[in-house]
């Protein structure tokens, strides 16, 4: 308990971040949260107590030196603040926007015990955005110069989500040539086809990717791991190591009648059409989306929120979100729930679907919902919902979006003999190094853990990259920056 006695400055309220007006933004795809100005950032940085044993840092999966970078903001040295961030986080502009800070750093912040925590995520975003105009090398490495390329080595990363991007960036910064194989036509994984523009502008992701290209990372789009090229073929063709970061796959459905009616979508399909296919500008872009008047979204996570808020922006008269537990149990970021409510999302808690009803042409017209109550907490501490028998209601709806999770994508495991997977298809990887049952083949991110977070996928990419660099260059020879000590303690 190293907190110093709260001083006067902590009495200052948390600095609000400017946002687009909810009425306006509910109909556009511009970013909702506009970011701090320099004055706001300095004011907010002043609320930090500079704890000797900062609780926030323990709450961060990659243990960013939080008081360290905040101190530099307060001192007005944004370059140094950025350098501190980059020591442990290679995509801070993304993380500042999408991490669940309330359960991580901000959830642990001492100031938050009595009032509102320091707005660590907003400060992180401010520093990263301010920096993004810098040179490529600086953006990726946080240092002014990169190691000389080692032509005798090469590593393949399959998939281009945060896990692979982090792995590739780390290795490239150490002079190891990397090729990233992505199945889709755009690079970035969920950051480009899942999370919508209004929450994470694609330009932010593209800038990070351009920086990696400048470092020499080669990106091959339209290459499907396990199909166009398999893991054994990559190893045979001279790649010294392979990192598998193919993310989650196969959307789960609800298993209730009528689920294949026209108008019932998985959130993945809906969001991919809109984000990757740019259906928001149909017919100027060719991929269509589904016009709907009353949309009902099922789920309570970030994916459900993104789907619901996208449907609002595409002109639905009403968007409802049905969740079988209560708001309190929703796994989404609090900020997203708050924003969605401001924008007019109708939330139907304690409701589960029992049937989708269609018209004679096979189009959805109604949804039957079952009322639920919260039962006793299970082993995980969450209360499981229990049906109130006989208590159902029927809603008129022409579109339903199902966001109840995903399974494992089978393409890689089907075509990689000797690759061990868990019963549900996720790849078995050593938690410390990410190495799989096949030597020199590593895996990390959602394909190992199941759907998780951007920062945890990045952590896995980084741990694997470090293990690969140690193996290829010899321990320590990679010129490890000092931050890796922090990383090690994070693994322990």
């Amino acid at each position: 308990m190293a907190a110093t006695a709260p001083s006067k400055k902590t009495k200052a309220p948390r600095t609000a971040m400017p946002e687009q007006d909810p009425k306006v933004r509910a109909r556009n795809f511009e970013e909702v949260a506009l970011g701090y100005t320099a004055d706001m950032a300095v004011a907010e940085a002043g609320r930090c107590l500079q704890c000797k044993k900062p609780a926030c840092r323990k709450g961060c999966p990659v243990e960013i030196d939080i008081p360290g970078f905040i101190k530099q903001i307060a001192a007005g040295d944004l370059d140094e603040a950025y350098a501190v961030l980059r020591q442990t986080n290679s995509l801070p502009a993304v993380c500042g926007r999408v991490c669940p800070q309330e359960t991580q750093c901000e959830g642990s912040c001492i100031v938050g015990k009595k009032g509102e925590p320091v707005a660590i995520g907003r400060l992180e975003r401010f520093v990263a955005d301010t920096h993004l105009a810098k040179t490529a090398c600086e953006t990726v490495t946080g240092g002014p110069a990169c190691s000389m390329p080692r032509d005798d080595l090469k590593v393949a990363c399959i998939g281009s989500g945060p896990a692979s991007l982090t792995c590739a960036g780390y290795l490239a910064a150490r002079g190891i040539p990397v090729t990233v194989f992505e199945a889709l036509h755009e690079v970035g994984g969920v950051l480009v086809y899942g999370i919508p523009e209004f929450r994470l502008p694609k330009a932010v992701v593209r800038q990070e990717v351009e920086a990696m290209k400048a470092l020499g990372v080669e990106f091959k789009t339209n290459w499907v791991g396990g199909k166009t090229i398999t893991v054994p073929e990559l190893l045979e063709s001279g790649y010294s190591a392979v990192f598998i970061g193919v993310g989650a796959g196969l959307p789960r459905f609800l298993g209730v009648p009528g689920e294949n009616l026209i108008g019932v979508f998985s959130a993945n399909e809906y969001l991919t059409r809109v984000n990757l296919g740019r259906a928001y500008k149909f017919p100027a872009a060719d991929t269509p989306t589904f016009p709907a008047k009353h949309v009902v979204v099922f789920g309570g996570g970030n994916v459900a929120m993104d789907a619901a808020r996208t449907a609002m922006r595409l002109g639905a008269d009403k968007v409802s979100l049905a969740y079988r537990r209560t708001e309190h149990e929703m796994p989404c970021r609090r900020e997203e729930l708050h924003h969605a409510k401001e924008e007019g999302l109708d939330i139907l808690c304690l409701n589960a679907p029992v049937e989708f009803i269609g018209d004679e042409t096979g189009r959805l017209k109604q949804i039957v919902l079952q009322r639920m109550v919260l039962g006793e907490p299970d082993e995980s501490g969450r209360c499981s919902p229990v049906a109130c028998q006989g208590d159902t209601c029927t809603l008129e709806a022409d579109m339903a979006i199902v966001a109840v999770g995903t399974g494992a994508n089978p393409l890689i495991s089907q075509t990689t003999p000797g690759l061990d997977t868990y019963r549900r298809g996720y790849i078995v990887a050593d938690p410390a190094t990410g190495e799989t049952s096949i030597p020199n083949v590593f895996a990390g991110g959602d394909i190992v853990t199941g759907a998780a977070t951007v920062i945890s996928a990045m952590g896995a990419g980084r741990r694997a990259a470090k293990a690969i660099a140690d193996r290829l260059l010899g321990p320590g020879a990679a010129g490890q920056p000092p931050d890796d000590m922090a990383d090690d303690s994070a693994d322990a």
Binding site: A183, L184, T228, I229, L250, F253, I262, P291, T361
Partner: protein, 283 residues
């Protein structure tokens, strides 16, 4: 990484063309039953097309498409020497081909004849006796007859107007064959949904294994979105990774047919805009 069109052949002017595309990495892996997903321009839609043939040595794949709407019409404006912006494959599970005792009957309708061609060739290479049955409205619309005849001695033809082969439907020829030959090992059907459904119904009483290649709407083609889901034997399957070939006797064709109309109003709008203004990409 764009892929170059090396040759283009108009099979039915304005309606159906064949493209031979330089794609060595796909050709090296392409097996009968596989498909690709392509995109023609920056804001284009991803659409699936079957690999009708592949030449590993030349590093090429062959696609045959019917102009249905915006994307295929746009594709039809391209010529030899032009590039296809994105081409990804080979996708889907390959056809299961083993040496079998009796004949394998491969049925193709419309553009499906080209897709069926690769499967028939695969069975032929495996040493199976292959009989192909192809059908169209009239002789001018019959595709790939020469290609099939080049390796398959038994090519049976049905046209609705009787301009070539038997007047009638492919299923008429199929039922006759099944009645006369009790050793038929398998029937494979590729074509429009009503045709595949009719084939499955025709073979059901004979209890002959029947494989159909489903053409549900796809987005990613790698098992992430669920757009392509179909009901097979009462279970939801993903055509892009579990298929596209399934047991024809277990497929819910009614649902598939309905799902194919999901975006019909948007597709019409998009196609009309294209016909009246051309592509947005040239603006």
């Amino acid at each position: 990484m764009p892929s170059r069109i090396l040759r283009k052949r108009k099979l039915i002017p304005g309606m159906t063309s064949e493209l031979v595309i330089e794609a060595p990495h796909i050709a090296a892996k392409a097996l009968p039953g596989n498909f690709v997903i392509l995109r023609v321009w920056e804001d284009g839609e991803r659409i699936p097309l079957t690999i009708a043939d592949a030449d590993k040595e030349a590093g090429t794949i062959t696609l045959v498409y019917l102009v249905m709407g915006k994307t295929t019409a746009h594709l039809e404006t391209l010529d030899a020497g032009d590039d296809i912006l994105d081409l990804c494959g080979p996708l889907g599970r390959a056809t299961e081909i083993h040496k079998v005792d009796g004949p394998v009957i491969c049925v193709g309708g419309g553009t499906g004849i080209a897709a069926m061609h690769h499967i028939a060739k695969g069975h032929h290479m495996a040493g199976n006796r292959v009989v192909t049955i192809i059908g169209a409205r009239c002789e001018d619309l019959l595709l790939f007859r020469d290609e099939l005849c080049s390796f398959c001695p038994e090519v049976l033809i049905a046209t609705n107007d009787g301009s070539c082969g038997r007047q009638g439907l492919v299923t008429d020829l199929l039922v006759e064959m099944l009645e006369n030959d009790k050793t038929v090992a398998e029937v494979v059907a590729v074509g429009p949904v009503p045709m595949m459904r009719a084939v499955a119904e025709a073979t059901r009483p004979f209890g002959v294994k029947t494989t159909v290649s489903l053409n549900s709407i796809m987005v990613d083609g790698i098992g992430m979105c669920g757009a392509c889901r179909v009901s097979v034997g009462g279970e939801t399957r993903f055509a892009c990774v579990d298929g596209p070939e399934f047991d024809g006797h277990a497929v819910d064709f009614g649902e598939l047919g309905a799902r194919l109309t999901a975006f019909k109003d948007q597709e019409r709008l998009s196609y009309e805009e294209f016909k009246s203004h051309g592509c947005n990409c040239s603006k």
